[in-house]
Subunit: 631 residues, 2 copies
């Protein structure tokens, strides 16, 4: 039954007004309702709680629920409402069809919250509440990533600095000091010795040559890929020179900042199975190469354990609720271009156990289906072992019209009348994009339900056209959804279609085998998913392929770093382009997270603020403590 946390109004108010008008259930009550035990719950205030991974072990014999991924056609820069659909669909399943349901979404970066985009908790009557807590610090996971990322950065530069100032002997004396009359390697040093093939545990026994190998990471500054992060849009930090202080003895280096969600540690949080797996991944992150070309890891720097300690609470998903009182996990939020753009594996696993056999877990994948869904299948599902039952493909009249050749859509600018008036011709011309995404999803053996996210200017004829073309392309169903204005009730038909699709046969399979070569994997994705005619590699990419292959990193999945505004690598190619050649500029490695990411263009990993960011409107009513101006 729908919970009356709020009264729906005909004229849909702003997101924050809707969210603030609702009265969330005490989160402890919701936790009990969904079967989480008190000892598995850590409250963070009244409306958020972290949930222990022990839930998964306790319920290990419980069959999983149905696993639904929400993705979208190639979006406009405004986004087409994936999160809103994810939440609305969940509200419909839970509060209207009376199914056990869990929503799993990412934690958003705070940078864009203060910029133009505003909140990311859904919208209208399909939101996760309290939206302010969702959009701001949440339970501190992104903060933990920032400090862990930056501790590693400090460890890199400090070590390079110390190596530049000290002899082998001095370094060794300091790295392995006499303490209480004893000299001992720490556990993480033993790891490094093993990696170097030095099978000794007594510091007195190392030869001079072994000492030198042990103490000198000898990082080549030009190969360092580890950057610092901050969860703010700070464009002037994209490129910086460090070490210009008077005490740093001229030890300068060119580097820069990314936004925190672009940190490899975020990708690890999303992919780690448990504390042990997270410890291993954090320790094996490669930060650069030695001058001899050997990968240097966080554990070589002695800091993998400390990073794990900083991340030990972050691995627990945060429980919140939707506007209709259904449960949601908010957990992890890696970049969808340079990383895989999906919320965490552990949250999905916990949710699937908690809903059980007859329940449903709705999880969201970032950007369009060519990116988020492909990576959901080939990376996230591969690492988790989970098998999806249904793909929900969100489509909008607006985005389809851009694919038909409609005028440019830009954030903060009024929409052209082409988008607000009926135009079946433009719409039909854009349908190729929808069709290609349906075919792509079906390539993985998964039934596809198209959810048309309704805007108030859409006409019945436009909606009908989308539904007709979707069914022709092989969708299991294609349904209008009006969850933004009507909450779960507006998504009831979509929910019923999803329930039906989950009963349909699913023959899930990956697009490629990990055993293939780097190039083979890239080419399969480009040809099958993007419809490319071919792939071209830069000289740099060719070199990197050789290096990665030599280091054994070629067995990792590929995480394509490309624009989300086209199925191709070129944002100007709308619809379902073909005949193009994909250029691979460069290939980077997230060895800890467990993927290589070929760059198909210039990916910005640090946004900037416009002249008038949203923060001009954001303030606090100091009497009530309520936030104003967040939207």
């Amino acid at each position: 039954m729908p919970k009356k946390l709020t009264n729906m109004l005909e004229n849909v108010p702003s997101d924050i007004e809707i969210a603030q008008a609702a009265t969330p259930m005490p989160i402890q009550e919701l936790a009990t309702e969904v079967g989480i035990l008190d000892e598995e719950l850590e409250l963070y205030g009244k409306s958020k709680a972290k949930v222990s991974l022990n839930v998964r072990d306790r319920l290990k014999d419980q069959p999983n629920g149905k696993y639904i991924v929400v993705t979208a056609i190639t979006p406009t820069p405004l986004g087409e409402g994936k999160t809103t659909t994810t939440v609305g669909l969940s509200q419909a399943l839970g509060a209207h069809l009376n199914k056990k349901v869990f929503t799993c979404v990412r934690q958003p970066s705070m940078g864009p919250t203060f910029s133009i985009k505003g909140g990311a908790a859904g919208g209208g009557y399909s939101q996760i509440i309290p939206m302010e807590e969702f959009n701001l610090h949440l339970t501190g996971d992104i903060h933990a990533i920032s400090i862990a990322n930056n501790l590693l950065a400090a460890a890199i530069d400090t070590r390079m600095f110390h190596e530049s100032q000290q002899s082998d002997k001095a370094l060794y004396k300091r790295l392995v000091p006499v303490k209480k009359g004893e000299r001992k390697f720490s556990a993480v040093m033993i790891k490094r010795l093993e990696k170097l093939g030095i099978n000794k545990t007594d510091p007195a026994e190392l030869t001079e040559e072994e000492i030198s190998k042990f103490v000198r990471l000898d990082l080549d500054p030009d190969t360092i890929t580890w950057r610092r992060v901050v969860d703010v849009n700070d464009r002037l930090m994209r490129g910086i020179t460090i070490g210009t202080g008077p005490k740093e003895k001229g030890f300068t280096r060119e580097t820069g900042f990314d936004i925190t969600v672009a940190s490899e540690i975020m990708a690890i949080l999303a992919l780690a199975q448990d504390l042990g797996d997270m410890r291993d991944r954090l320790g094996r992150m490669v930060v650069g190469l030695s001058r001899a070309g050997e990968p240097v890891t966080a554990d070589d720097l002695g800091v993998g354990g400390a990073l794990t300690v900083l991340m030990k609470e972050a691995i627990k998903p945060t429980l919140m609720q939707t506007l209709e009182g259904t449960p949601a996990f908010i957990h992890a939020g890696p970049f969808a271009n340079i990383a895989h753009g999906n919320s965490s594996i552990v949250a999905d696993q916990l949710a699937l156990k908690l809903v059980g056999k007859d329940g449903y877990v709705v999880t969201e994948a970032g950007f369009g289906a060519d990116i988020g869904m492909e990576k959901f299948f080939n990376i996230k599902c591969r690492y988790s072992g989970l098998v999806p039952n249904c793909v929900v493909l969100v489509a909008t009249v607006r985005a389809l019209k851009t694919h038909g050749g409609g005028p440019k859509v830009s954030p903060g600018k009024p929409l052209d009348p082409a988008y607000t008036e009926e135009n079946l011709e433009l719409l039909e011309a854009g349908m190729s994009n929808l069709i290609k995404h349906i075919e792509n999803a079906r390539m993985f053996g998964c039934p596809v339900v198209v959810g048309v996210n309704k805007f108030h200017t859409d006409t019945d004829a436009e909606i009908d056209l989308i539904r007709e073309k979707a069914m022709e392309a092989g969708a299991h169903a294609a349904v209008l959804s009006n969850h933004w204005a009507r909450g779960g009730d507006g998504a009831a038909n979509l929910a019923q279609a999803v329930v039906d699709a989950c009963e349909a046969e699913s023959n899930f399979e990956f697009l490629y085998d990990l055993d293939l070569s780097i190039k083979e994997k890239i080419e399969i994705i480009c040809q099958k998913m993007y419809n490319a005619a071919g792939v071209e590699y830069s000289e740099k990419a060719e070199e990197q392929i050789a290096t990665y292959t030599a280091n054994g990193f070629d067995k990792l999945p590929m995480c394509m770093a490309k624009t989300h505004l086209s199925i191709s690598h070129d944002p100007s190619l709308k619809g379902a382009p073909s005949g193009f050649t994909v250029p691979i500029r460069e290939i980077r490695a997230s060895v800890g997270a467990g993927f290589l990411y070929p760059l198909l263009g210039t990916m910005s990993t640090m946004p900037g603020y416009p002249t008038r960011p949203a923060y001009y409107d954001i303030d606090l009513d100091v009497e009530t403590g309520q936030i104003t101006g967040l939207f």
Copy 2:
């Protein structure tokens, strides 16, 4: 009655072993016990909770408890156990003398936790538990400060960048855009217009000249004092060049990073009375001067409201407990040299109301009494209006011997036998330091209890000598305290002495009036507290005094930024030096926090990691989730 949270062992184990062996009470239970209502409490897991400032309003008619500040003689670089004494004394008052008691301490920076210093939750059997949670993220306040500080930094540089690229007209169009057919100033813009003397609210009515004044903050890059922060010891970030990225069009600038606890926002958190006061202070923080010499504030940049939103949870103190189950507030932790080094006013206020008339609040002031206590009285008590009842001055045989001319004491190095064997001569020679601090405390009209923090090598004769000299110098009492090894029981005598002292007459007064000139205030502190012969101002300082006076900042209290290793400005001058002249290199302004800080030397606001930081030993037992190697 002492609570049996742990069993004390004769051979005192490591801090983390003691802390992990204890079973904390559920924090909700403790909260109820001390009179905090459920609706005033927000749990953060099982052992930490944030407490609403509403407690203060609810109990406004309740008389305050006794207010005790713990300070120390001039310490060695190892520290002399102020936090340990603060906790031990509280345990004694609460669990042994059966008084209502609250401990108030700062949240430590995480940077040093991973360096050499290790934890900061007290030590031995006088600790706040769980020490891992205390030392790591706590409830996220420092993270909130980091991101707020860096959002402001991004706002500064982004604005300078946009101003450099756009005409007045373009800036105005973007700053005050047409939205839904309307052009409106946001509330924070109206503030700026008022500051500029432009009494208009319709954007259409501004003249060209007014538009130019409004849109151009015209920050002079050489005057920008706002730096970025990170809660990591990242020495290579002390000086950096930003804007070197290819998209930043050559807009580079020299700046750097401080450790987060050095942020002015941390000082504001510690001094703000409530949300409204915090909003005002954050908005009026001065980040630099315009080319015309006018102060530019966070509100001029439009970001004061957003900063407040980021800090709205941080203003609530965090409730934890000691090893003997007495309550503690952990809240704020500004640097003790460039800022005032005291935990928050609001935590002390809440605690004083919660313990009530017959209760005791033990709060700690950073570094030695010449810094922490002086700032506690002249800055913190001035802003809070609270009147202290008693000073506890922590002394150690070790530190007194250094003041008598003992050999240098360095972290990580073994102690010279002068410190571990009886040496009454050396000790007596150092007594001048203790005497001067006693006299200083008495200058404020407060009774002083000297607490000798016992080390196992101290002899009875040494302790007796300290007690004798302290009494001669006018201490109300001088007591040995063995709380490290024995918990509250070991501090029972100290607690009794404190109870007695709180009954003694106290005639608290400030050292200086705010109405005095900047120089007069500086000179009073230098002469009365430090025993300086005179003060010398650099040319720069003279200029700054003129500027601050012209801007009306001369009525703020002075927050002396000086070494903690001497009562003077010179760390090599031990004991109670005299005849020296204090050089004022420079005077900086924390206008939002509400003080000026004269620099009496080079203050490092960003520590570095040694060759082998503590993180080499820190790891996680991935089966149990327990942290190892944190000390």
